[in-house]
């Protein structure tokens, strides 16, 4: 997922507007081609809605009927709560397990097997056991968001340079100090990568929960609209999900840059300056 940033080549500044204009032109060309194909009945309008009706759908779902907002809110609620709970649990458990080498070795195969099991298969069992409601839905998202942070945190803690651990020990650092000053910071890149993976699958997990225990949410809307072949509205919902996914992705990138500040030069300088000032004030002198 980190590689997506590499996908888009940074454009030379002076023709940035040019680039955007060209992107827009291509987009509009594709859309027009689609619209024309529909009108000429090359594409079955029953299955491929006119772009104009999709646009109309956006207006209808967001403004006139406004029914998409509550569903959007419900889906996002499940995503955020489930993600937070799941990743906190994942990181926390990994830290505990990471401290014990033996535990980690024996746990590994089971984690792998559980991780490989498609969540859509486990979902029904959770709901059958705990019933409908947002608790079950959040539980499913939690399950989805647990593994990546768990596995990654574990990996991060293990791959710490042995020499550095020795050095800390030789300087008489306590377990807590070793943990907070060495293990945790070295593991942070991996942890952050794990969090990003979890966030990426959180949205999918919420949808799984909705498809199974459909009370409300974007997944429910999509099923209803496709069931009545109201493809335009279904597309609107899917595009909303894409937009959500995109914002989540960008958001996680920002969080990543914030936490792993040493990857970015400006950030490193800023944080360095702040810490120097704090250190100086603690020592009681000011340069």
């Amino acid at each position: 997922m980190n590689e997506i940033a590499d996908l888009t080549i940074p454009a030379p500044k002076r023709s940035a507007l040019n680039i955007i204009a060209r992107h827009l032109a291509i987009f509009l060309a594709l859309i027009s081609a689609w619209e024309i194909s529909c009108r000429l009945e090359w594409l079955d309008p029953l299955f491929f809605p006119y772009p104009s009706s999709i646009l109309e759908g956006f207006w209808r779902l967001y403004i006139t009927q406004g029914n998409i907002w509550s569903h959007l809110g419900l889906t996002m609620f499940a995503v955020i709560v489930g993600f937070t709970a799941g990743s906190v649990l994942g990181v926390g458990l990994a830290i505990c397990v990471g401290m014990s080498d033996r535990l980690r070795r024996y746990l590994k195969p089971y984690v792998i097997v559980l991780e490989a099991t498609p969540r859509i298969a486990i979902g029904p069992v959770i709901i059958a056991a705990f019933g409908f409601g947002w608790t079950s839905k959040t539980a499913i998202v939690m399950l989805v968001c647990f593994f990546a942070p768990f596995v990654n945190t574990l990996n991060g803690m293990i791959s710490v340079d042995r020499d550095k651990v020795e050095m800390f020990r030789s300087m008489g650092a306590s377990r807590i100090q070793t943990f907070s000053k060495l293990l945790l910071p070295s593991a942070l890149p991996e942890i952050s990568a794990g969090l990003r993976l979890a966030m990426a699958s959180a949205l999918g997990g919420a949808l799984v929960a909705e498809f199974i225990a459909s009370n409300a949410g974007l997944g429910v809307l999509i099923t209803q609209y496709t069931g009545t072949l109201n493809m335009a509205s279904a597309f609107v919902c899917v595009l909303t999900l894409s937009a959500l996914g995109y914002f989540i992705f960008r958001g996680m990138e920002a969080v990543d840059r914030f936490i792993i500040f040493w990857a970015d030069r400006d950030r490193i300088e800023a944080v360095g300056r702040k810490r120097l000032a704090a250190w100086h004030s603690r020592l009681g002198d000011r340069p």
């Binding site: 996908l7 298969a121 496709t226």
Partner: protein, 286 residues
């Protein structure tokens, strides 16, 4: 060599002991009533179902083949598109710039959301499952191939260019071989993703396949059968993954020492004969 084997055996043995303990705990919990046996059957019931499915009824083989075919076909189609677009993007900067946004949008849209639409489009039959598999596995292949082809070692590239290599030669002799490991990593991710896509589509609407079997069994409240089907799904994923691993091993031969030697020897022999026929004297090391 024997030491290594015995070390492996020892760790395998330890893992088996732990596994046996877990199973025993599970059985105990089920017997005592801690675990809801209707929702989560005890291991012996699951074993019984596995026996039923694989030996007694033998129904599972047909479903297994169908899902295998759907996943593999989806992988091939999605892979073909991914490779083609990635290669095009790596060779032409503008192409890359214009294709990327659409690829990203496809990536951030959860595949599950597209399932009802894909099924409505393709109707009943295998095509909808293959299509969904292809859609979800397109992106990993695309992004891995693109990144891999773009990250060329600057020094090696200079060397090639100083020797007067053409664009085609640079591409086929430098970029592609350097990219292959990462491309195959993308394949591995993609094929498991394609399986999940095919199964998700089956859950929605399908006549046969492991997903259908699992749904049928869980609907009839035969949870041990459903879990057996689920394990079969994991087995299928493992098989697909191993197929790619085997191909990976043969194509990216320089990763394993023994393979590298074998291929080098063969190529040297071929080179010697072709060189020998032109100049009569063998060039290269003896």
């Amino acid at each position: 060599m024997m030491d290594r084997l015995s070390v492996h055996l020892q760790s395998l043995f330890k893992h088996l002991i732990v596994f046996a303990c877990v199973i025993a705990l599970w059985e105990g919990a089920a017997a005592v009533g801690l675990v809801d046996v209707i929702l989560l059957p005890p291991p012996h019931a699951i074993a019984g179902s596995i026996w039923d499915l694989y030996v007694e009824n033998r129904t599972i083989y047909r479903h297994f083949t169908i899902t295998f075919y759907e996943a593999f076909a989806g992988f091939l189609i999605g892979g073909a598109f991914g490779l083609a677009l990635a290669v095009g993007s790596s060779l032409n900067d503008s192409f890359r710039r214009y294709v990327s946004p659409y690829a990203i949008v496809l990536n951030v849209t959860p595949g599950l959301a597209l399932t009802p639409i894909v099924i409505a489009w393709f109707g009943f039959g295998y095509s909808s499952k293959i299509a969904l598999g292809a859609i979800v596995c397109f992106f990993p292949i695309f992004v891995n191939t693109l990144i891999a082809l773009s990250r060329t070692d600057g020094d090696t590239l200079e060397m090639f260019q100083s020797m007067g290599a053409s664009k085609g030669q640079v591409f086929w002799k430098l970029r592609v071989p350097a990219a292959l490991p990462m491309i195959f990593a993308g394949f591995k991710i993609a094929i498991t993703t394609a399986l999940v896509g095919a199964v998700v589509a089956e859950f929605s609407q399908a006549t046969a396949g492991i997903g259908v079997l699992m749904q049928r069994l869980s609907f009839a409240l035969d949870m041990s059968g459903a879990i057996a089907a689920l394990l079969s799904m994991s087995l299928l994923g493992l098989i697909l993954f191993t197929i790619i691993e085997i191909i990976d091993d043969r194509v990216v031969f320089w990763r394993r020492g023994s393979r590298m030697e074998a291929v080098s020897r063969r190529r040297l022999a071929r080179w010697k004969t072709s060189a020998g026929s032109s100049s009569g004297k063998p060039i290269g090391r003896k």
